[in-house]
Symmetry: C2
Subunit: 708 residues, 2 copies
């Protein structure tokens, strides 16, 4: 039996409900010039009618206190405790406690404290569908700390400059505030006197904040007695009165226009952020690269919030393809599993599957592939197991939509995204088949893991057939790669990098084909270049995998450095170095439509961690892993890569490698033109100048070698 000192009461709810509810709340915060923009996909949320139950066996009568989010009743052995008291007594003996909770706008949740039992994961919960699951424990451990009160952390920040602007009319006065860098949060006005209207025009760029007519977001507030007195930070002295704009916004600049008699003094903001640990770390001999890494980390942190968001100004939505990359960057920076799990649950929503995730064919596959990455990096099998039925139902949905050749095409209203760029995505797009095939492989492996033999076999067989069909249909020996698509039975002559680089990463080519693809596609300037950081992510990864780190270093310097040269303080949704001036801000036919803080812009975090520091898991949760440092033309690199049990430290220059390990068995791989020496362990000569050193847990290594 439990004893009191082991009890850890927590708010509990139906598994996944909190995440779905939070996703709905967050997804509905997008607006465009005060027009709310709800997502164009189904927004699933929590179940409003749930039951919690637990059998208790009490030695003596117990007084129980109970806090509930929602309307509720309490039943002991199917008899109501009338009046729903906050505190009630359960007599000694064995009893079934059942608490029914109804809540539509918040998540049904309970918090209970008895003497020998409390609300925790030993409770079961049901959505009244005959299925009882272990309750999800929410990270809220006091009755007053309610799940519906979920808020990110905030801290005050202050502008670096303010500039008085010419007023457009006599009644208004306006100024431009600069917070020095891209940020996110709530603008505050201090020392308010008088009443009147205040308008705030936000800008990720100075130009945007100055454009009252075209800035993507703005706020209008009528400041009067009612509003100011309800402000939590209100002071009795009007001169100390602070007003916090209720909407969170992304901005570096804000143009503030006040109309009427209202006056204010200082302007500040509450920076809103997810508290994460900065575990990943990277430094090298090149300051430009270091600045790129820092800016990437800041970009990722700004977009790593309740969920992995795409960008913070415009969409503020959760997109599977974007998140797929945030997951990977997270494994080389924050290693925050919670935000990963929240994102997986939010993206997938509930059954029945009616459309692809985010309505995008590729995005259904990314969800499955990202789960494989998650499992590999975190080793969190239990979460993947919870997701497994939804992997199967999503894949079944896909399989039902295959054509006679076993390929997936875009059906009416499906969006075949691939990437922003010139391409014809009608018919059978090779890239989609590669992702489909990989998803089947992954699902088959998971099925095996969870003893679902029927699906394990059917997914594997389908993946094999699909793999063969892809090479049979799309491989162009003369061009030395996969063509982009087949439409109405006619093969396209268009060659793009997308399918080729993914197939290369997944090992779908034989040696001969792989070599052709490297030379004819990946390193061929004549092939249509990739212009978004989104697909540059995979492209640079792919180039690293074929040993082109030196080239990748110069690409990072050129492409991400190019944004820094234009004053970027966070990385952008797209960047075309050939554009100039305000052109950089436009997208979707709107002058400031482009997101200047987009998660997929932060990919150097992943590239530098995985391919330069060279740390990557071989088996789930880094039980075994490899370290293969690459200087990529830099004089030295050093940094830390977070893994479940701690942080692995790596330093490398052309003649020395230092490693600090945590748990797990590692393998250091490196090339040397001389016979290397290690401070510990036995270096193995693999021939052709390749060496390996087995790394034991919690150890330090110093290796002397000569890069050759």
């Amino acid at each position: 039996m439990d004893t009191a000192h082991q009890l850890n009461p927590t708010w509990i709810s139906y598994p996944g409900d909190f995440e779905l509810w939070l996703h709905r709340e967050v997804s509905l915060r997008r607006d465009e010039r005060l027009s709310i923009v709800p997502p164009f996909w189904r927004l699933d949320t929590h179940c409003s009618n749930v039951k919690f139950r637990k059998w208790v066996d009490l030695i003596q009568d117990e007084q129980v206190t109970c806090d509930v989010e929602g309307r509720y009743n309490i039943a002991i052995n199917d008899r109501f405790v009338y009046g729903n008291p906050k505190s009630f007594t359960i007599p000694a003996g064995r009893h079934l406690i059942m608490i029914s909770v109804i809540a539509e706008t918040i998540v049904p949740a309970i918090y209970l404290e008895g003497q020998s039992f409390v609300s925790d994961s030993s409770w079961e919960v049901s959505t009244n569908n005959h299925v009882w699951l272990p309750a999800a424990t929410l990270n809220y451990h006091t009755p007053l700390d309610k799940p519906s009160g979920y808020r990110l952390a905030t801290k005050p920040i202050f502008p670096i400059a303010a500039e008085r602007l010419n007023s457009l009319t006599k009644e208004e006065s306006s100024q431009l505030i600069d917070f020095g860098k891209e940020t996110f949060g709530y603008v505050r006005l201090h020392q308010i006197t008088g009443y009147g209207k205040v308008c705030l025009y936000y800008g990720e760029s100075r130009e945007e904040a100055l454009s009252r007519d075209f800035c993507e977001t703005y706020d209008e507030v009528i400041l009067d007695e009612t509003i100011l007195e309800n402000e939590p930070a209100a002071s009795t002295d009007p001169k100390d009165r602070i007003f916090t704009i209720p909407n969170s916004r992304a901005f570096r600049y804000v143009q503030i226009v006040s109309v009427g008699e209202v006056q204010y003094g200082e302007v500040s903001a509450l920076y809103e952020y997810l508290p994460v640990k900065y575990r990943g770390h990277f430094r090298c001999s090149d300051d430009r690269i270091n600045e790129i890494w820092d800016t990437s980390l800041y970009t990722l942190h700004l977009t790593t919030r309740e969920f992995f968001l795409d960008g913070i100004k415009r969409d503020r939505w959760v997109w599977s393809g974007d998140a797929c990359q945030s997951f990977l960057m997270n494994y080389y920076s924050f290693f925050d599993n919670d935000v990963c799990r929240r994102t997986f649950i939010a993206l997938r929503g509930k059954d029945p599957v009616e459309t692809h995730i985010n309505h995008i064919l590729d995005y259904s596959f990314y969800w499955i592939l990202a789960l494989q990455d998650y499992y590999l990096h975190t080793g969190d099998l239990s979460f993947v197991k919870d997701c497994y039925p939804k992997i199967v139902s999503l894949l079944q949905f896909c399989i039902e939509r295959t054509n006679d050749s076993g390929f997936m095409e875009g059906l009416p209203d499906d969006w075949i995204f691939v990437d922003w760029g010139e391409m014809d995505n009608r018919g059978e797009v090779c890239f989609e088949q590669i992702l489909f095939c990989r998803s089947l492989n992954v699902a088959s492996d998971f099925a095996t893991l969870f003893h679902d033999n029927e699906n394990a076999s059917s997914f594997r067989v389908r993946a094999q057939q699909l793999h063969e069909s892809i090479l049979h249909v799309f491989w162009d020996e003369k061009a030395g790669g996969l063509v982009h698509s087949r439409h109405d039975g006619k093969l396209s002559s268009h060659i793009t990098k997308y399918a080729n680089m993914f197939a290369l990463s997944y090992g779908y080519f034989n040696e001969h084909q792989a070599e052709l693809v490297k030379q004819n596609i990946m390193l061929n300037d004549a092939v249509q270049p990739i212009v978004t950081p989104y697909m540059r992510f995979y492209e640079l990864a792919s180039l690293c995998e074929i040993g082109e780190t030196d080239f990748v270093t110069s690409e990072i310097q050129r492409y991400w450095g190019g944004m820094l040269d234009l004053g970027a303080t966070s990385f952008w949704e797209t960047f075309d170095p050939t554009q100039s001036g305000d052109q950089h801000y436009a997208m979707y036919g709107r002058p400031f439509g482009k997101s200047l803080c987009h998660s997929w812009g932060a990919s150097p975090l992943y590239i530098l961690g995985k391919y330069y520091l060279g740390v990557r898991p071989l088996t789930p949760g880094y039980e075994t892993y490899v370290i293969e440092p690459k200087l990529g033309g830099l004089s030295w690199i050093e940094g830390a890569v977070p893994v479940p049990s701690g942080d692995i430290h790596v330093f490398a220059n052309s003649h020395e490698i230092n490693i600090q390990t945590v748990s797990g068995i590692g393998t250091l791989r490196f090339q040397s033109s001389v016979i290397p020496i290690s401070s510990d362990g036995q270096i193995v000569d693999k021939g052709a100048g390749q060496y390996e050193l087995m790394l034991s847990p919690h150890n330090s290594y110093n290796i002397r070698y000569t890069l050759g």
Copy 2:
């Protein structure tokens, strides 16, 4: 093009959403001694994220006004009308108007008025799943008349007696108010002075209202300045102050206890009801039967509300088996299609099907069977077509749960209800197979109607096989009927009426079997009697069908008359004539647990309309119908039966039949010992004293005959 005078603007929403939302609201109004009792099934509700769209082609610019329930945006050709004005201009030409609406606690709905177009069923609506449906038009035709404000009608009613009670303490004073008959609504206190607490203990019986500890429902109100001033009916003169209890309750009696300085004068109530037309009508030579018919009508009206409820005091929920009978009674009384449709939608909820309707195996089938009844009586094919996909998915759910013999058994957590009564419902219950078989027949017919040939054939084949299996397994030639069940391969020796009477009605027996069942089961006192009005409904119908109307008349007099003798002003959930005193009020182990106003208690409405007046449809919507009056031992009967085009009037005594028809082609069937004469048309002699007269539309007939 539309012209202004044809325009009929209305609030529009996603089809079914309003009904699901209303069902949630209504289902959550159940409480038991202030403990909320949410339904123990999944409560589906509206989709919170929907889009409305319409292409318009305007000759000139149009000013459009727009009212929305929810947060929303307006886009014209995919460009937002920023700021969501209540009024905006659409330029001349062809444009796509799209309105996105988000609403969690109410139903997303819009109301639009332009010059050449308005919100109506020509709009399309989607839940962001790629499927666009014609918008549902709600019966709300002004901007201020919002769907979320849905309320039933109310009217003041007044008690017939008040009785001062002895106070339990010095601080309180109490009285018992009697409204003279079962009613439903909101109690009101008039001429309030002073502040204090008022407790109201409701009773369907005097005994219940007097039992503060065991009455099923009560209210406690603290009357203070805040409360009284917010009361809509508040007057400036405190002496005219009225307070209306915010909860609607079922009661005839209410014990009012006031504590503290509060005093009140008059007590009244707002009777809450669904405005329906009293179309069906019945009178006969027996006043007792007339009183039973009136009380049945009142019982049905009290339970016919937002939906067909089971009872008004306790559950106030929508139950498929109960509703199945309310539908049929409605066809012989109010003929209100709207409440039928609301009930069908509410019961079925959304896919995926996770459990049987109301968690009861039989109740899934009743939903399908009731749709067949609905179609036959109303001819409303369009609604049935909307429901058809959900018929299929519900039946698929059932089919997946059949055992190796093709039978359905109760799986863990399924409730096999059949009826309140002694029976062992483990294993394969014959009654359930009969309903399953009939459901397959009905679904097959619908599939044919909607050109779904695959399901038409598979359902038909399965029904055929099941029919054969039922007779093969459950028919007991010696007993002359179907046995109750088979459990663990062992046939029960228990014979009950349920399966037999349904199989008889559905024509599942051959002539020989039917005759055996009539004699050995239906008319055999040794077979376990049916004690609920619920199954008495089918039993009496079945007896009428085998010509036992005289016996049915005496049964109605005895059973329903028995309740009247005990002072019933509405009919009960169960009635056991052998009980006495307070025993009649107890159920579920609670002294006043029984519902004294239960829809299934009103079945004489159906029996007397269908089998005495004898009016019933032969083809959907009464395009063809039959009238077969039966006196059932009474001297005369007369009444009206509502059909889609009006009311059919029937009078009959032993020597005269008068008929007034509306649309449709009818057939009058009757027996005569002399050659009958009709005022119009040609009577056909069918032999053996049977005669038929074809009835033309909108005609009157007087037939002279002699009942023989």
